[in-house]
């Protein structure tokens, strides 16, 4: 970095530890360390106390209420997108909960989709197809180098402007409508067939898990594997399908155009779609880079050895390269997941009612800035800590076990 000055010799260098004859000397490194820590600790406490004192004094002077008492009051504002029942007569606490669930929803979906897209693009960058690798390269460079906020503004404009109104909605499939009010899908209606199908789905998963254990045992003893992919897919998807046929169909709540809008069914709103799309495409660009470097970090000999053992290209990638690459990939991807979750707070700019957006409205109405910002921080901190604990646990599990 910088040119270094030669180490200075002379009286200032304390070559030897001071003689033990004066145990309470200021030259004792242990004592000095203790004093410094005490001093800094006291300063931090003092600063914290001063800030608190000032804040309380200012709030008293300005007549700003303090404490979280407002949580129990009626919020008075509506939130359209919600996973639980909520109306303007509900409390601020409930509004917070609605916002929190919305944040969790978009983050969880975003993480899954960004991982898939990012992995695809990361592999695509290493593709032998010149067009694919160039396109993936261009994708990564253009999305990584423009602020996410700007991209969100852009996607939202594109979605609302590019799609037709509800009365001219595009019919993608029967009962699936796409318009600038969002994507309308049929939802399961109240029908016993659905619970039986759910049970069949669960059964399919259990059986698949058992069979894959059997398959592993067989591979260990005979070297051959069961064709797990078709068997698993057949069980997990086929069983519910059989139930559906047995019942002769299940009731659906289909969206219908009524008055101004579609009613019935479930909706994917444009705000949610724009936020999800923006977060996924942006984060995928970073994940793609991590995946690429992770794959490149696996020594070439590994691939060659796998080929020599007669594994196909897909098997090599799945059984040899990716498991090793994962060890390199997981830690940086973890921080991308955390980034995605934190970036979901930009929802406030395009109207998706995430936690920050709800807290912001509340802050505006109650004027309780300290509590509002504190609530945001506590919530995100908890999410971050929980997520990183989960991923650390996973990371520890897949870590290379050395002798």
């Amino acid at each position: 970095m910088t040119s270094m000055t030669p180490p200075q010799s002379g009286p200032r260098s304390t070559l030897l530890a001071p003689p033990r004859s004066r145990p309470l000397s200021l030259n004792d490194p242990g004592l000095r360390a203790l004093l410094w820590q005490l001093l800094v600790g006291a300063l931090v406490l003092l600063a914290g106390w001063t800030l608190l004192h000032n804040t309380l004094q200012n709030m008293g002077r300005l007549g700003i209420a303090s404490g979280f008492g407002y949580l129990g009051r009626e919020s008075g504002f509506a939130i359209e997108e919600r996973m639980i029942e909520y109306g303007p007569t509900n409390t601020y606490a409930r509004a917070y909960l609605v916002g929190l669930l919305n944040t969790l929803k978009v983050s969880a979906l975003g993480i899954v989709l960004a991982t898939l897209l990012g992995t695809l693009i990361g592999i695509g960058r290493l593709s032998g197809n010149w067009l694919v690798s160039r396109l993936c390269g261009a994708y990564v460079e253009s999305l990584r180098n423009v602020p996410l906020l700007l991209q969100l503004f852009f996607w939202y404009a594109i979605i609302t402007e590019g799609l037709p109104g509800p009365r001219q909605a595009l019919t993608l499939l029967p009962d699936v409508f796409l318009s600038n009010r969002g994507l309308k899908l049929p939802a399961p209606a109240d029908d016993p067939a659905w619970s039986w199908m759910a049970a069949a789905f669960a059964l399919g998963i259990v059986v698949t898990l058992v069979l894959s254990a059997v398959s592993r045992g067989r591979q260990a003893s005979t070297g051959r594997r069961l064709p797990m992919l078709p068997i698993g897919l057949g069980l997990i998807l086929g069983l519910p399908l059989l139930v559906l046929l047995a019942f002769g169909g299940a009731g659906l709540d289909t969206p219908r155009l009524q008055g101004f809008n579609f009613t019935g069914g479930v909706t994917l709103t444009p705000e949610f779609a724009a936020l999800l799309f923006g977060l996924v495409t942006y984060t995928a660009a970073f994940i793609a880079e991590t995946v690429r470097s992770g794959i490149l970090a696996v020594a070439r000999g590994q691939t060659e050895a796998a080929h020599a053992l007669g594994l196909s290209g897909g098997q090599t990638l799945r059984l040899v390269v990716l498991p090793q690459a994962l060890r390199v990939i997981i830690p940086p991807v973890t921080s991308q997941f955390l980034n995605l979750t934190k970036n979901s707070s930009l929802a406030v700019a395009i109207g998706y009612p995430d936690f920050v957006s709800v807290a912001n409205t509340t802050l505006n109405q109650t004027g309780q800035a300290v509590e509002g910002v504190a609530a945001i921080m506590i919530v995100y901190l908890s999410i971050s800590l929980a997520l990183s604990a989960l991923l650390n646990w996973y990371n520890a599990r897949i870590k290379l076990v050395e002798r």
Binding site: E80, A157, N180, G259, G351, S357, T361, N364
Partner: protein
């Protein structure tokens, strides 16, 4: 401990001190003295609201709210350009005023009891607004009561959002809200057809229809007004002199319109024999002195921004792309609410 060691520590302290030095101090003196001492009026405005406060292509702030700042600066400091505009978001505006970051807040703020009680003082409204609905003509809606089940675009962080929920609740109707903080983002969504109706202050809707709508004739504003929105400048509690100065500067602009005094003719009007005009322009009487200013205060304000009517027409009325009607904001003599108490 070596000398260098301490020198480094001193450097850190010096840095902290410099940082502290960069922060100004608002002394406990009266706002008038502070403003005069500073030679500049600190005026909080919107970060961008067409016709009320928006920067032009040269980066100069313009608009009705901005003209209020200019008028007060002209009255107090003698120069309409001695204003420092502080663009503020909806969350920041009240704290900024309370903490002394600005002297006056002129940022389309609705006068409500809650806000008035939060240590603030509202001046006379510079714009009487009301919340309404705008819809696409193609929907065939003629009354807001027909909006049951509609999707409605609304700005967050304002009283608009609360009024909307209240009104629908009172009328036992349902709606779906699309809530966006930035007006222009919201407008783009509305004109793209994201919502059936757009709700906002009437001033905004009319302006938006004239200047943003792809085809203005395709949109109608429904007759219902679901709220009263007197948009008024705000000052801090506890400095009555400053409140009087700002209040009477606004009244002087109203009075000027009533008496036919304009920016162009204000100098000739000093020769007017009407005693009302003479008192306003400081030819006779000691009106300005009573406020703690000099007697030419109103003359300077009028010269700087024109009378209220001129301000209105230039920024939001006929002379602007917004083309708003005077409506409630006409002089009381024309059936509006603009009414200046006697200046005597």
């Amino acid at each position: 401990m070596t000398l260098r060691h301490w020198a480094r520590r001193a450097g850190v302290c010096l840095f902290l001190l410099t940082t502290a030095g960069l922060s100004g101090t608002a002394s406990a003196a009266t706002t008038l003295d502070t403003v005069k001492g500073r030679g500049q009026l600190l005026c909080g405005v919107n970060t961008g609201l067409a016709g009320f406060s928006n920067p032009d292509s040269q980066g100069k702030w313009t608009g009705l709210d901005v003209d209020v700042c200019k008028a007060v600066a002209a009255a107090v400091l003698g120069d309409a350009n001695k204003v420092r505009y502080v663009p503020l978001t909806a969350q920041q505006r009240l704290t900024a005023l309370q903490s002394g970051e600005i002297d006056i807040l002129s940022r389309n703020t609705t006068w409500t009891l809650t806000r008035d009680a939060q240590g603030l003082n509202f001046l006379p409204p510079v714009y009487y607004d009301g919340q309404g609905f705008m819809v696409n003509k193609a929907l065939g809606v003629t009354s807001a009561k027909q909006l049951d089940g509609a999707t409605i675009c609304v700005q967050t962080g304002t009283t608009t959002e609360l009024n909307l929920a209240d009104w629908f609740r009172a009328n036992n109707l349902k709606f779906k809200g699309v809530v966006i903080e930035q007006l222009d983002e919201l407008l783009a969504a509305f004109f793209a057809g994201r919502c059936d109706a757009f709700t906002s202050d009437e001033s905004q809707m009319a302006g938006v229809r004239a200047s943003v709508a792809p085809k203005p004739d395709d949109y109608v504003i429904l007759p219902e007004r679901i709220s009263k929105e007197p948009l008024a400048p705000v000052v801090r509690h506890g400095d009555d002199q400053w409140k009087d100065i700002a209040t009477w500067t606004l009244y002087a602009l109203l009075e000027a319109e009533e008496r036919g005094i304009t920016a162009a003719n204000v100098d000739q009007q000093t020769k007017n024999t009407d005693p009302n005009v003479q008192r306003l322009l400081g030819v006779t009487g000691d009106m300005g002195k009573m406020l703690g200013l000099d007697n030419q205060w109103a003359l300077r304000a009028i010269k700087a921004v024109g009378n209220y009517g001129e301000m209105f027409e230039r920024n939001v009325g006929k002379g602007s792309p917004l083309k708003l009607e005077r409506g409630l904001n006409a002089q009381w003599t024309n059936g509006g609410l603009m009414y200046a108490p006697p200046i005597r």
